[in-house]
């Protein structure tokens, strides 16, 4: 299993500012994933963060808007840059961890972001 913590748990930010979200995992993992979940909506993958290489972004997400760092195998940060109210969402960090021969996806508790 994997235990994931995120900081901050929530924040209210002003338009045009940036927020960096931290994700810490209790075990070493190759890939870490960042998801966005708008209120009452599904989970949308933003990017995959691998240690030692550039993050891979999904369609509709760009590095300038969502820069990601992955300095080691247990930690990653996601920055939401130049925020607008449309960025108000829950941002979740996720990893896969194998048990019993298959990989189960674990999610962090999320960071609830409100942009005014």
């Amino acid at each position: 299993s994997a235990v994931i913590s995120q900081k901050p748990s929530r924040d209210i930010c002003q338009r045009g500012t940036s927020l960096t979200i931290q994700c810490q995992v209790d075990s070493q993992v190759t890939m870490m994933f960042w998801y966005r979940q708008q209120p009452g909506q599904s989970l949308t993958l933003i990017a995959t963060a691998n240690q030692g290489s550039e993050a891979t972004y999904e369609s509709g997400f760009v590095i300038d808007k969502f820069p990601i760092s992955r300095p080691n195998l247990t930690f990653s940060t996601l920055t939401v840059s130049n925020m607008s109210p449309e960025d108000s969402s829950i941002y979740l960090c996720s990893v896969f961890s194998g048990t019993g021969g298959y990989n189960e996806q674990f999610f962090g508790p999320g960071t609830r972001l409100t942009v005014l």
């Binding site: 909506q41 949308t44 979740l92 298959y102 990989n103 996806q105 999610f107």
Partner: protein, 114 residues
Amino acid sequence: QQPVQSPQAVILREGEDAVINCSSSKALYSVHWYRQKHGEAPVFLMILLKGGEQKGHEKISASFNEKKQQSSLYLTASQLSYSGTYFCGTPPRVGGGSNYKLTFGKGTLLTVNP
């Protein structure tokens, strides 16, 4: 390609059964099921693999029809704790790191009342 879930919402009384469906217009290699309670992170329920293998640790059952490109989650004798939003997730293709890039359906809100 986002999988399609049905129904969007269902209300049950404790003890009743429900079926939640997940279908895709593309070939499915595996289907992952999660439950998310309000204000909490999604929690893994089950993974169904091509060939009929199932892995999970909840007392629920599911089916995976590769030909029909769909999966169904069966919730029997529902309990209050089953309430939440159920999501299915599918990878774009089999193999390598892409197997972990799940695309999730829009979710099915299940409410179990006493």
